[in-house]
Amino acid sequence: MAERDTADFGGGNTPVGGKLWSLNWGLVLLVTVIAGVGFAMLYSAANGSWQPWAERQAIRFAVAAIVMIAVALIDLRFWLRFAYVFYGVVFVLLVGVEIRGAVGMGAQRWIDLGFIQLQPSELMKIALVLALARYFHGLSLEEVGKPWRLVVPAALTLVPAALVLKQPDLGTALMLVLGGAAMLYLVGVRWWMFAFVTAAGGGAVPLVWHHLRDYQRARIASFLDPESDPLGAGYHALQSKIAIGSGGVFGKGFMAGTQAHLSFLPAKQTDFIFTMLAEEFGLVGGLVLLALYLLVLAYGFAIAFRSRNNFGRLLALGITVNFFLYVFINIAMVTGLLPVVGVPLPLVSFGGTAMLTIMFGFGILLGVYVHRDTRIGRFGDSEG
């Protein structure tokens, strides 16, 4: 019992030193490598300078890595217990940006806490995974099969998604909905339910379209035919494709990308950083980064499968799916497969909250790994 005191209330049965030892250091290394790719691209984006992006990104990564490891050491039962609380806090923050958020880039997304511009919508991705995992952890298959049991998780997903959409942040809203749907699918919600919801959603498209801002509509329209207005809304998509396509198989070389460096590429350090990588390192570079991401996904699935508690599995899968959504939506967006919706490339794009959110997620993923053998009862108590 004295041991538990030193390892704080979430400590579980293993001492901290042992827990550190049992971390999945392969995943940590992988994450660091991907972040390293990001530093290199940010260095290039600043025309061969650590300022203004690469250095700050590295510092953020270091801080986020500490957060990640700290989170990894926290007992899963702590997360189970505080999942709704966490969700509630993030939800309040999300509502808060509606009330007193700073206006930036035409979208209200940040709460300026002075030292960091907090993006509640990013945190909501984690909070939603936690809340859904918490909700379904205690439900049997039969209970999941009852439609009224799905009202709460649907609300948990759609209400924040609607708020985020109103900000307006199409990308994050999309990720919340898709992430939530993936969770529901995993816990055994029947196919026809999804078919029903998709059909209902399809019916809602005109309604949603009606509520979209002009620039969002323009982006979707330009996605459908980007060359129709190359200097307007289609500009980003077309310039991105030009940059990627002109990179060819082996790319133009590190820091030799013409399009990104000549400012034809917008937001090259954030959402469009993959474009710069594909321009400078070509198809080879793009595929290598994609492979690294797939390796992360493989780790995620492996951790999920090795977890012996349902909560951990759902968490791991939820976080992995979210990570995949980041990667897929971002790359599909910059290669012109999806409209430009504003989703960063995880670990690589410049940005504080996204980095923190993703590393926080990896912390939970690592925590699932560390606590893979912990048995958690239906209501969060230890099972023998």
Binding site: G247, Q259, L262, L290, L317
Partner: protein, 631 residues
């Protein structure tokens, strides 16, 4: 526990399915990258280059205009202007204060700078002030350290060192106007100038050269990042004129004594224009920097027509200078022999009409040589009557009258040599016999330019179809290079030498024998003597009433009603080399006739020309060949 297991199995199954979907989507991304970077790489590569490479034109250096000895008549002079790059200047207002402390800066300038700085991208230089003189430029240069973002930019502007002296011959360059556009993209450069008149216009394409290009890498905002490739283009070629600037200057100063005059000096054997003067001229540099509306209107409405090149575009009745044509036509047709005697009682009757000789009492009985010497009008009235207008017109045309000479200048007038057919076709009225009589002394419809008269003189002394030109035979070229045998290229006119000799002898007598109309204007320097023919052409008809009450003195008439004074001349007598034609509009300041006002100018110009002898001062000149042919 069984339920728990089922749940776990379902989760695993669905997770694997999800992983499969993710794998498939990842494969789709890889496929998309393959599509963009392999299959469509060429297309996007091309688009990328178009994106980043901008083509900038570099204005070519305009060729100079040189005289036959290489003296620059039109050159390029560096100009300096102060520019300011807003993004390098922390406080534009303070910077303008600092600049204003060094050079004068108007409030309008300041407002323009602030406005341009606001409108343009902050990296685009804004002109603060143009046309700095050297001292102002130096003041800015010395202080550049205290003036961040301010710099001196050098440009070139057209410079005419002789000012009005060579105008309107040289013409001028000016900013490109709307209707000049099209074709050469260099015309769209903001401060490009092109030739608008004179030589500058005639040889504009050669002088202009070809624009260079600078391939620059630009970013999305159009800022030049670096230069990739530079093609300097082709600087304009120099135009070397036949003009001898010393003679041009001399003739211009000589003409400037009269209110409005033109003087053409040709090398009779090559057709080279050694001087082509039209006074008053204008200062061409005004056009380069741009004229104000008032200045332009003043130039245009000036009754002395400074913008008009009277030497080639001024059209005048030739008066008595036309008489050699009538004489040659008569000798050619047999209407006159050298010994034909005609009596001048001072007037000539044709039907009811009376035509007066300039000499009130008449000249008595004359032969052709004497008639030329004394410029007897009645003699030529009678000759013209015998001939009819058409043979006279045919002869005049053989000597280059009635058609543009084809000199390499824009805006040349054709003049007019009337024929019976011409009159019927143009006016629908038959040619009147009385008109032939007037035409016999170069009046009526006959109209010529000073250049045409000079060409006529050149053909008289060479018996060749001499064509005038301004550019040296070796053209747009280096000065001093050998001219090819110009004289040999002209067709023979085929006038019997005896006829020409008779006419030229008469013209010699005009100047050199006592009683000749221009005896007072003879050249006394040994070996430089000239021959010539005077002319005084009526601008308005003299009424019978005026004759009865006695002619008014020219000075009593309004200036624009006075007679023009003309003279054509050649020198030296015996082996003519230079020909000159002069017209003094309305007799100039004194209102005198051709022999009194125009002849002295021809005399002085020919005297100066023979002293300088520019034709022979060019090495390997074909004069020797031509002189050998002549003798």
């Amino acid at each position: 526990m069984e339920r728990e297991k089922n749940r776990s199995k379902l989760l695993t199954r669905r997770a694997l399915l999800l992983a499969g979907v993710q794998g498939a989507l990842a494969a789709a991304l890889a496929g998309r990258l393959y599509q963009l970077q392999v299959l469509q790489a060429d297309r996007y590569g091309m688009l990328a280059d178009q994106n980043r490479i901008g083509l900038r034109l570099i204005a070519p250096r305009r060729g100079r205009i040189l005289d036959r000895f290489g003296a620059p008549l039109a050159d390029n002079r560096p100009t300096y202007r102060v520019v300011l790059v807003p993004e390098q200047t922390p406080d534009i207002d303070a910077m303008l204060d600092a600049v204003a402390a060094l050079i004068s800066l108007s409030d309008a300038d300041r407002r323009r700078v602030l406005r341009d700085a606001r409108r343009n991208h902050s990296f685009v230089p804004v002109a603060v002030r143009e046309n700095l003189d050297w001292e102002e430029m130096a003041r800015i240069e010395v202080n550049t350290l205290e003036l961040p973002g301010v710099s001196i930019e050098q440009g070139l502007t057209r410079d005419y060192p002789y000012g009005a002296t060579a105008s309107p011959l040289l013409g001028y360059v000016a900013a490109v106007s709307e209707q000049d556009l099209g074709g050469d993209p260099v015309l769209e450069l903001p401060d490009f100038h092109l030739g608008k008149s004179g030589i500058e216009k005639q040889y504009d394409l050669d002088l202009r050269g070809e624009a260079g290009t600078s391939e620059v890498e630009v970013n999305a905002f159009g800022r030049v990042v670096r230069e990739l490739n530079r093609d300097e283009g082709e600087p304009g070629r120099d135009a070397v004129l036949a003009i001898d600037m010393a003679l041009q200057d001399f003739a211009t100063r000589r003409c400037a004594g009269e209110s409005s005059a033109a003087c053409v000096l040709l090398d009779a054997w090559t057709g080279e224009a050694l001087a082509l003067v039209s006074t008053p001229g204008y200062d061409p540099s005004g056009f380069v920097t741009g004229l104000s509306q008032e200045q332009w209107l003043a130039l245009q409405s000036d009754p002395l027509r400074p913008l008009n090149d009277k030497a080639i575009a001024g059209v005048y009745a030739p008066g008595s200078t036309f008489k050699p044509m009538v004489a040659l036509a008569a000798l050619d047709s047999g209407a006159l022999t050298p010994d034909t005697h005609i009596t001048c009682p001072g007037y000539f009757e044709l039907g009811d009409a009376l035509f007066h000789c300039w000499k009130k009492g008449g000249h008595g009985t004359l032969v052709l040589r004497e008639a030329i010497k004394h410029s007897c009008d009645v003699f030529f009235f009678e000759t013209a009557r015998r001939l009819g207008i058409d043979p006279i017109a045919a002869m005049a045309r053989r000597f280059g009258l009635g058609n543009a000479t084809g000199i390499d200048l824009p805006g040349e007038a054709a003049g007019l040599i009337p024929t019976t057919d011409w009159k019927l076709a143009t006016t629908g009225v038959k040619w009147q016999p009385g008109e032939t009589i007037s035409a016999g002394i170069g009046q009526s419809y006959v109209a010529v330019t000073p250049l045409q008269l000079c060409v006529m003189a050149a053909r008289l002394v060479t018996n060749r179809a001499v064509m005038p030109r301004l550019l040296r035979e070796d053209g747009i070229m280096t000065p001093g290079a050998a001219a090819t045998a110009g004289a040999a290229d002209f067709d023979a006119l085929g006038i019997p030498a005896a006829h020409l000799d008779l006419v030229l002898d008469g013209m010699m007598a005009v100047v050199n024998e006592p009683g000749g109309t221009a005896y007072a204007a003879r050249i006394t320097d040994p070996g430089l003597a000239m021959g010539g023919k005077s002319g005084t052409s009526q601008v308005r008809r003299i009424t019978e009433a005026e004759r009865e009450h006695g002619l008014r003195k020219p000075t009593e008439l309004p200036w624009q009603d006075r007679d023009h004074a003309l003279f054509i001349a050649f020198a030296p007598v015996g082996a003519p080399r230079y020909v000159c034609a002069t017209i003094v509009e309305h007799g100039g300041e004194t209102g005198g006739g051709g022999s009194a006002v125009a002849a002295p100018i021809c005399r002085d110009v020919l005297r100066e020309a023979q002293k300088r002898d520019p034709a022979r001062r060019v090495p390997d000149h074909p004069f020797a060949i031509a002189a050998a042919e002549k003798s």
